[in-house]
């Protein structure tokens, strides 16, 4: 990787409170779950607004959002471990655990015994992935905790915006109320990450300098 390139924007998630109760019905239906793959025209479905009709649907999306974020942070931790950046690996692992706790809380609060299955064609997001899912291209093998927290902050802000948007588009009062609660929680996480960032030293300007770069032709 070119050592001079800086990745990164963004920041980190922090302890979320359990998702507030938003109903206790079974997960969205899906016995037919993966029985048939109904492939939606590619590159279209993934970029449309989530078709949320009720509170269960909203919370299913909230779960998917947290679970996907957790998985990605774990993948980031793996990458950093491979590149011997243990401090950042540990931080990403921590972020993954936090997001996983959020996902588990949603299950608990909804009374679901298993993760809600994806709808036919998969989850639909307004961007290419869930709003709390970080982008692989933000990584750098010399990145520091500050950068990782910037990534997390960016994701928490996007998650807040996601739920705020749902408040505007909610098809019912119940969905609106649940979306407001989720947006408020995400706003709280934004604050927590911002505080965490304040306690984290900013990197030196030459943080990406590698005296023995992997790309010899540089």
């Amino acid at each position: 990787m070119s050592p001079a390139r800086k990745p990164i924007r963004r920041g980190a998630a922090v302890a979320k409170k359990p998702a507030k109760k938003a109903g206790r019905k079974a997960p969205p239906a899906t016995s037919a779950r993966r029985a048939q793959l109904k492939v939606v025209p590619a590159a279209v479905a993934a970029h449309s607004a989530p078709p949320i009709k009720d509170v269960e649907g909203l919370m299913a999306y909230a779960y998917a959002l947290e679970a996907e974020a957790s998985e990605r942070y774990n993948e980031f931790a793996d990458v950093m471990e491979t590149h011997n950046n243990r401090e950042v690996a540990e931080l990403f692992r921590k972020l993954a655990r936090i997001e996983n706790i959020h996902a588990e809380h949603i299950l608990e609060e909804m009374g679901w015994t298993s993760p809600p299955p994806p709808p036919a064609g998969g989850w639909r997001w307004e961007s290419v992935e869930g709003p709390e899912t970080a982008d692989f291209t933000d990584l750098h093998y010399l990145m520091q905790p500050y950068h990782a927290l910037q990534i997390a902050l960016h994701n928490e802000k996007r998650a807040e915006a996601f739920f705020r948007d749902l408040v505007q588009r909610a098809p019912s009062g119940k969905v609106r109320t649940a979306a407001k609660e989720m947006a408020a929680e995400e706003a709280e996480h934004v604050q927590l990450v911002e505080e965490w960032l304040k306690r984290t030293p900013e990197p030196e300007s030459d943080w990406a300098h590698d005296p023995d770069p992997p790309r010899w032709s540089d």
Binding site: M1, S2, R5, P7, S31, A32, R33, R34, A35, Q36, L37, V39, V40, P41, A42, A43, V44, A45, A46, H47, E71, E75, D78, V79, M80, E81, T82, H83, S114, P117, P118, G121, G122, W123, W125, V128, E129, D135, F136, T137, D138, L139, H140, Y141, M143, P214, R215, W216, S217
Partner: protein, 279 residues
């Protein structure tokens, strides 16, 4: 297609990932492609023990080790013949060949042509980054002619290989293009490719952030294909010939029946086969 689409025990994408951690560079598009492949398997409710992933050599060809499926990390450019043999011997398996543009279009270029022509029921996922990354950044068959680097000063001046057009001309039954930066859409493309009969080819634009950092811009350049997929090879040819390489989606879906061996057709028993070899 022999790939079973069943609703048995729910398998998550994570179940298809092994404990081996990828050694790709941070930011490499291949991470997302691995994620897409595992999501596609989960979407189809496949089981790891019913899948084989076959690869050649290169960064992306390391992918079998990162899954819990059966895998074969073979010889440079030879993923497709190995995968073909496997599928013919074990037709009940879902066979996915995977690799990069150098492995697939240069060293394995001839096998690519004949795999398309034979139309054996399998899926070929090519992670195309327009460069040989593992060997430090030499131009590959899909590298732009004017790509200037220390290893190719002034560019190669050679026209880039157009794998989708070649695949269509050679007889591939399903042709799609994905983008690593959009792993969910790519997962649906791969799932559809696996479900389609015959030889399915999915080219995934997978940025090499180390040797082609400018490929980070692909995120702003890719777009959904403006037209629906077609089953008309003539129409597909016209589209692909004028395509700028950034249209994402299923671009051709034919109806040619998958190749079956005479043995499979006849369902011969071992004793009958022995008869054939009697002197």
């Amino acid at each position: 297609m022999t790939t079973p689409v069943k609703a048995q025990a729910a398998v998550t994408p994570q179940a298809f990932k092994s404990d081996y951690k990828p050694v790709w560079c941070p930011g490499c598009g291949d991470f997302s492609v691995l994620s897409s492949i595992t999501k596609a398997f989960a979407l189809l409710a496949l089981q790891p023990e019913n899948i084989a992933i076959v690869s050649g050599i290169g960064c992306s060809s390391r992918i079998p080790a990162y899954t819990t499926c059966y895998g074969f990390h073979g010889v440079h450019g030879r993923a497709l013949p190995a995968a073909t043999g496997l599928k013919l011997a074990r037709p009940e398996l879902t066979v996915v060949a995977a690799g990069g543009d150098g492995d697939g279009y240069s060293i394995g270029g001839n096998h690519f042509l004949h795999a398309c022509r034979r139309n054996v029921d399998m899926t070929y996922v090519v992670m195309d980054n327009h460069v040989y990354g593992m060997t430090k950044g030499q131009p590959s068959p899909t590298t732009e002619p004017d790509w200037d680097s220390k290893l190719s000063p002034g560019g190669t001046g050679m026209r880039a290989f157009n794998p989708l057009v070649i695949a269509l001309a050679a007889g591939a039954n399903f042709i799609a293009r994905g983008f690593a930066g959009d792993p969910n859409t790519t997962a649906t493309l791969i799932a559809e490719a696996i479900s389609a009969p015959g030889f399915s080819f999915v080219e995934v634009l997978s940025p090499c952030v180390t040797f082609r950092p400018e490929q980070r811009e692909w995120k702003q350049m890719v777009r959904p294909a403006p037209v629906q997929s077609t089953d008309d090879p003539g129409r597909a040819a016209r589209r692909l010939m004028t395509d700028d390489g950034m249209n994402v989606g299923v671009l051709y879906k034919g109806s040619r029946a998958a190749y079956r061996t005479a043995i499979a057709k006849a369902q011969r028993r071992p004793a009958e086969l022995e008869e054939e070899f009697k002197i």
